[in-house]
C-alpha cells in the first residue's frame, strides 16, 4: 500500500504508514505493524528496543504538543520523523521542525502529517520539513505550487542559515 506525498519538491509514491492509537489502544500493547511505519512517540518511548529489533529503519511521529527533546540522541536512528499538524492553525510543529534541524542536527526526512495544506507548505519548508503528506481530499498537484510562494526571505531558518541582512550586499553586487 502506498500513498502519494510531496518529497523534496516532487510528487512520489511512498510506502510509509502512520500508526495512530485509537481509543482503547495503548502504547504498551498495540500490535506493531509491518514497516515501514511512523510510530507514535509514546510507542517509541515504551517499546524502543522492540522497535529497533523489528524495523531496519524505524520511524516516529511527534504530535504538536510533543517536542523533539523527547527524542534527543535517538534522532539519528530515524529515517523519517513525522510532525503532526492536528489543525493547520496549530503552529507548534514549526518550532519542532526547526529544533530537529538546527539544534539536533537531524538530517533525515521530516514529514508533515495531519492537516497539511498548500498554503502552509512554504513555511514548513523553511522550518526544515522536506516531505508533505498533503491532506487526502486536496489536489496534491495544485499544492506543489505552495512550495514556490516566495523567492526570497528576511529570516534565517532551517533552509537558509543567513538572514537577508547578511546577504543583501551580495544581492546588490
Amino acid at each position: 500500500m502506498s500513498e502519494r506525498i510531496i518529497r523534496k519538491q516532487e510528487i512520489v509514491d511512498d510506502p510509509w504508514q502512520v500508526l495512530r492509537l485509537t481509543s482503547g489502544e495503548s502504547a504498551e500493547t498495540v500490535p506493531l505493524p509491518a514497516g515501514p511505519v511512523l510510530l507514535p512517540l509514546a510507542v517509541w518511548l515504551a517499546r524502543r528496543d522492540e522497535a529497533l529489533r523489528r524495523y531496519e529503519q524505524p520511524g516516529v511521529w511527534l504530535d504538536s504538543d510533543e517536542g523533539p527533546e523527547m527524542l534527543a540522541d535517538d534522532c539519528r536512528r530515524f529515517a523519517v520523523i513525522g510532525i503532526n499538524f492536528p489543525k493547520f492553525t496549530d503552529g507548534r510543529g514549526y518550532s519542532s521542525a526547526r529544533l530537529l534541524r538546527e539544534r539536533y542536527h537531524y538530517a533525515g526526512e521530516i514529514r508533515a502529517i495531519g492537516d497539511v495544506l498548500q498554503d502552509q507548505l512554504f513555511l514548513m519548508q523553511r522550518c526544515g520539513i522536506d516531505a508533505y503528506a498533503v491532506r487526502a481530499d486536496k489536489d496534491i498537484e495544485q499544492a506543489l505550487a505552495g512550495l514556490r510562494a516566495f523567492s526570497e526571505n528576511y529570516q534565517a531558518a532551517a533552509d537558509q542559515p543567513l538572514p537577508l541582512f547578511r546577504r543583501r550586499a551580495k544581492h546588490a553586487a
Partner: protein, 567 residues
Amino acid sequence: MYRYDSIDQQIIDERVAQYRDQIARHLAGDLSTDELRPLRLQNGLYIQRHGPMLRIAIPYGMLAATQLRKLAEISQRYDRGVGHFTTRQNMQLNWPQLEQTPAILGELARVEMHAVQTSGNCIRNITTDQFAGVAPDELTDPRPYCELLRQWSTFHPEFAFLPRKFKIAVNAAATDRAVIRAHDIGLELLRDEGGEIGVRIFVGGGLGRTPILGKVIREFLPRRHLLSYLEAILRVYNRYGRRDNMYKARIKILVQALGIDDFRRQVEAEWAHLKDGPTTVPDTEFARIAAHFAPPAWENLPAVDELHAARVAGDLAFANWVRRCVHPHRTPGYAAVTLSLKAPGAAPGDISDTQMLVVADLADRFSFGELRVTHEQNVVLADVRLRDLHEVWQIARRHRLATANIGLLTDIICCPGGDLCALANARSVPIADAVNEKFDDLDYLFDIGDISLNISGCMNSCGHHHVANIGILGVDKNDEEWYQITVGGQQGNAAAIGKVIGPSFHAHEVPLVIEALVTVYVEQRLPSERFIDTLQRVGIEPFKARAYAGRDRRRGARQENREVVNV
C-alpha cells in the same frame, strides 16, 4: 523614511500574487471558508457586520504623501471615500468587496504598502512614538529598530500560527508615547554606561479581557541581540502558550502562569542556543536602515519666530490650536503638528478622501512629504517651520483638521464599534458623539485640561479603554448595549490599568456620568493638578459616589430600555 529595495518589493509583489491565488481558489471552491480565514486575516481582511473590512498596514505609523494619496484613491475607487486610523497606526477600509481585495493589495504594492499581518495569530504591525526622530526627549530614533523588526517578523516561518496575536511596540524617548507596557513585548531603547545602545524588554503586557502591564524580562540587552532574544521569547510562547482557550492564549497568560522568573529562565535557556548566531544584527545593518531615516534638510532657523509669536499673541483661536496641537521639535524653528481627527460629530480616527488629499498636500508643502499616524488616531506633520504654522492651521481648519483638542476630553480614542465591527457588544461612535455634544464648550475643555477618554465596543479593547483616565467599555446584557466605566488608567511612564467604578450604565447616561466625574475633579482639584492627579490624591470614592448619585441602577435601566426600543 524606509524605501524598499528590489528584494523588499519582490517579496511584497509575491505576497500579492499568493493572496490573489488564495482568493481565486476560494471562489473556485478549492479553499474552504475555514481554510481561507487565517490566510485572509494575515492579509488584513475581516468579514464584518456589513461585509469585508480591509486593514492596511502602516508600519510604525509612517506614511509618505504619495502613499496617503494612494489610500485616498483606493478609498474612492474601492470603498466609500473614507478610511479609519486604528490604535495600531493602521488604516481600515470598511466597505471593500472581497473580489476586489487582490486588486487593492496590488495597488498598495505599487507604493510600497501592504496589509501583511494586520490581523491573525502572528506578529502584528510594530508601533512607536509618533514624534520619532523629532522629539526633544528622544535617546535615538526608534524607527530603524521598528523597520528591523518589521522585516524580521514579515512571514517569519516559525511564528505564523502562534496561539494568539502578538503586538510589539518600541519607545526611545524619556516619555513613553507608545504604551509599551500594554504590549506582548515592549521595547525601551537605552544606553548603558559604556554608551552602547540596547533595550529593556517588557513582556506579557496586553489589554483585552485580562489587562496586564508587561514585566521586565531583561533590564538591558545589547541591540545586536535583539532579534535572537525575541526569537527565544516567541519560540517559548509558540510552544507553550495555551491553545485550548482563545481567551487564555495571549503570552500574558503564559507569563502569569509561570511567573516572570520562570518564564525568564525558559527564555534564557532557549536564547543560550541562539545567542551570537547568524541572527545577531551587525552595526552595518543598523546603519543601513538608519540611513533611510536620516533627518530631512532642516534649515538653520532661530528658535523664536517673531512673526509666529505675533500671530499667537493676536489670534486666540490660533493660539488655542498652537497650545494643544503644536509640539516641541528638537530643531530650532520647527515644530510637530497634530491634525485632529476628532472634530465634533466626526467618528474618531476617520479621515475622508478629501482630507487625505489635503493632508498629503500639507505634508508635501510644509513637512518634507511625510506624515505619521498616531495610536491616538490623529495625524502628525513632524517637521513644520514655526513661520508656516499659521498657514497650515488655516488650511487644516477649512477641512476640519484643526480642532484644538489634542489631549483634551474630546480627543477620544475609539474603536469603530457595533456600527461596523462584528465583534462589538455595543456601539462606540455614538457615545463619542454624545460626549462631544455634552462638552461643546472649548473654554471648558481647556479648563478641564489634560485627560484621556477612550471607548471600546467590546472586551477586545481596541479602543484602549483600560489605559484611559476615563475608560468606557461596551458590554452586552440580554442583547442590550450597556457601558462599563473605569477610572484611573493612564498611558506613559506611569502606565496603569483603570478600575471599574461599578455597575454599567445605559447609553444616554454615559455623558452625564462623564460630566459627574469631571465635576468632582473641577471641585476638588488643587492648582496645576490634572484629572488623574486629583483622582490619585482623593481616591476613587468621591467619583464613584457622584457617578451613581440619584441613579437606581436596575429600575432606571428598565425604563431606559423601553425608551430605546420604542425609538
